[in-house]
Amino acid sequence: MRGEHFELETAAAADGLRRVAIDPVSRVEGHGKVTLLLDENDQVQQVRLHIVEFRGFEAFIRGRPYWEVPVMVQRLCGICPVSHHLAAAKALDHVVGASQLTASAGKLRRLMHYGQILQSHALHFFHLASPDLLFGFESEAGRRNIVGVAAAYPEVARQGVLLRRFGQEVIRLTAGKRIHGTGAIPGGVNRAVSRQERDGLLADIGQIVGWSRDAVQLVKRLHAADPALYDVFGTFRSNIVSLVGSDGELDFYDGQLRVRDADGGILVDGFDVANYQQLIREEVKAWSYMKFPFLAALGPQQGWYKVGPLARVQNCDRIATPLAEAERREFIDYGRGKPIHAPLAYHWARMIELLHAAETIADLLPDEALSGSELVASGERSREGIGVIEAPRGTLIHHYQVDDNDLVSSCNLIVSTTHNNQPMNEAIRRVARRYLGGRELTEGLLNHIEVAIRAFDPCLSCATHALGQMPLQLELLDAAGTVVGRLASAS
């Protein structure tokens, strides 16, 4: 079964169609492009989100010593490096036999991760997405940026910048640097947070929780002001996947996998992440460097799914912090018993998570264990480790095998944005059909496509980490779009 069956993925006949490219897609992490093929009546015949970056982490991590991996693989990304850092460390905990981290190490890693969620969600909403939402999708392009937001809504921009800064400060104190630190090591962490450092964060955390509440209110106001837009823009139905904690609570750091269908019914629950390969398969398509994952039991046509805030907030049974839990209930009530699938609702869910991250940091900071000295655990060595974490953008899977000489012999990474590959393609196809068909294309209209992609907060750098598994194909097209030459390679 091939992906050609998805509507608008491949035009029936490409000859004579007009090609429009959005390249690069802006205000996302990494580089991607969208191509549209239009017929003589300007009707959309084909829409694809292509990822044009090519990385190679899965290949060049092979043959490196395992203890280097958490520091090296985080370079996949400059926005959510902590997620890769921790997912790798979690995987390698198994390799060094640390089945149970020390109390201090577990809490320090959790603090680092929730700082990461806070800073990444703040960055995405305020810096990348808010210009579209505050000014309108077709507003003046030169104004649609954080500088424009700062001029028109200075307090909103200020709070966004300071929320992110606080998250980065949490990361600096737990990882050693704001970006690309070394805090997590196989079996634990290499640093604690002193009481003085905790006091510094505690002095600001009340304000941070307050601003996070304001952010949820802001996104709710935007949604309420134009529900006809927010509820339907790019909306498609799909399964959802995320980790949930042992009591069904929202948990970004650890848990078991849960899958719900498009109606909210639980398909899989309590699934051990160590068996992820039985749950998820990946499909390769020649036109993108990003793979297409799907649930093995359902196949590529029915088994694709969403991850990230919209999936997580609806997949869990509850949120352990009171303010975020109240917001979750309101969000769920808005769906009137049905899952909300609207891409723009990602922003709402994301801000609920921002609030939860802030509340969790507030709960963690007074804990003396953060200043403890028992930081590393070890046990019986193993040759394999799988680490799964909820990164800001969704479920992140790291899987390593380590040989007897301590070198990595294989590596498999399934990153958050890759899970959302088919969802993003579905969203932009719906937007293209609804808004672009039969019209003269303007920058503002094309920005609608980008708005749909941005809702998922994709990290295209992360998503193209692999090498050696995807067929590379070069195509030479004549003016009419006919393929006149092709060069294909299996590696």
């Binding site: 203890w67 280097e68 520091v71 090296m72 050693g176 070394t182 090591i185 000489n405």
Partner: protein, 246 residues
């Protein structure tokens, strides 16, 4: 009788007979950049980082005996430019990926690059293919970072009495080898307790399974830049001598 001295960047620096320019400068707390020099070993003079101008001639400070009245230029823009170029060549010749190197923060090559304000590699990267040797149970050899300083060669031969390491090949093909028919460290009598295990200025000879255990902020050159460490050590030894005299 006044003590013999050299004039280092215009500053009179005393020395005793037998000391090199490097010895005299180090004792006085003045840093002359270097990589292959180590006070515990005979000078080698191969890295050329310590090149100074003595009475108008370029010489290696680690190798050249101090002479009374010698005028030595060390910290000058011209010499530092040349040193920076040498560093850039060392960086592109190997695979020095500081962001994920466990020696980061403890590495002399990196510390010197910061000290001499090397902002880019400038030259095209060679990207040599140098597989690691992970055969030894205690020690990893990552040849990607070897700068051919021969400190491990000298330590193993002169202190450990083992001659585990040697350089082989010529010119650009020169590389570090170990003394085993298989070419693997596991098949030598090398041990982590050897002096040779402790002297690598870069990230070639590494104790296994402890990488990144020291947090950022507590690594050797996080605490103090390499140039200042010489100054502090000299001040400390002067203080100890002062106390001895009391």
């Amino acid at each position: 009788m006044t003590q013999a001295s050299i004039l280092l960047d215009g500053l009179p620096i005393p020395f005793v007979a037998g000391q090199t320019i490097m010895d005299a400068a180090t004792a006085a707390g003045i840093f002359i950049p270097h990589l292959c020099h180590h006070p515990d070993f005979k000078p080698q003079g191969s890295c050329k980082l310590c090149t100074v101008k003595a009475n108008g001639r370029h010489v290696s400070a680690c190798f050249t005996p101090a002479r009374d009245g010698m005028e030595v230029e060390n910290n000058t823009p011209d010499l530092n430019d040349k040193r920076r170029t040498l560093l850039q060549m060392l960086f592109v010749e190997g695979n020095h990926f500081c962001p994920s190197c466990e020696k980061s923060g403890n590495c002399m090559l990196q510390a010197l690059a910061y000290e001499l304000e090397m902002l880019s590699p400038h030259f095209d990267q060679f990207y040599p293919d140098r597989p690691v040797d992970a055969s030894h149970p205690e020690v990893l050899l990552d040849f990607n970072r070897c700068i051919l300083c021969e400190l491990c060669v000298r330590a193993s031969r002169d202190v450990d009495g083992k001659s585990v390491f040697a350089l082989s090949g010529r010119g650009i093909g020169k590389h570090l080898i170990v003394n085993a028919e298989s070419g693997r460290l596991a098949d030598t009598n090398f041990s982590w307790a050897d002096k040779a295990a402790q002297v690598c200025p870069v990230g070639v000879i590494l104790r296994k399974r402890v990488g990144f255990a020291v947090p950022i902020g507590k690594r050797r050159y996080d605490v103090e830049p390499i140039g200042m460490q010489v100054e502090r050590m000299a001040a400390r030894s002067a203080g100890e001598e002062g106390m001895d005299g009391d």
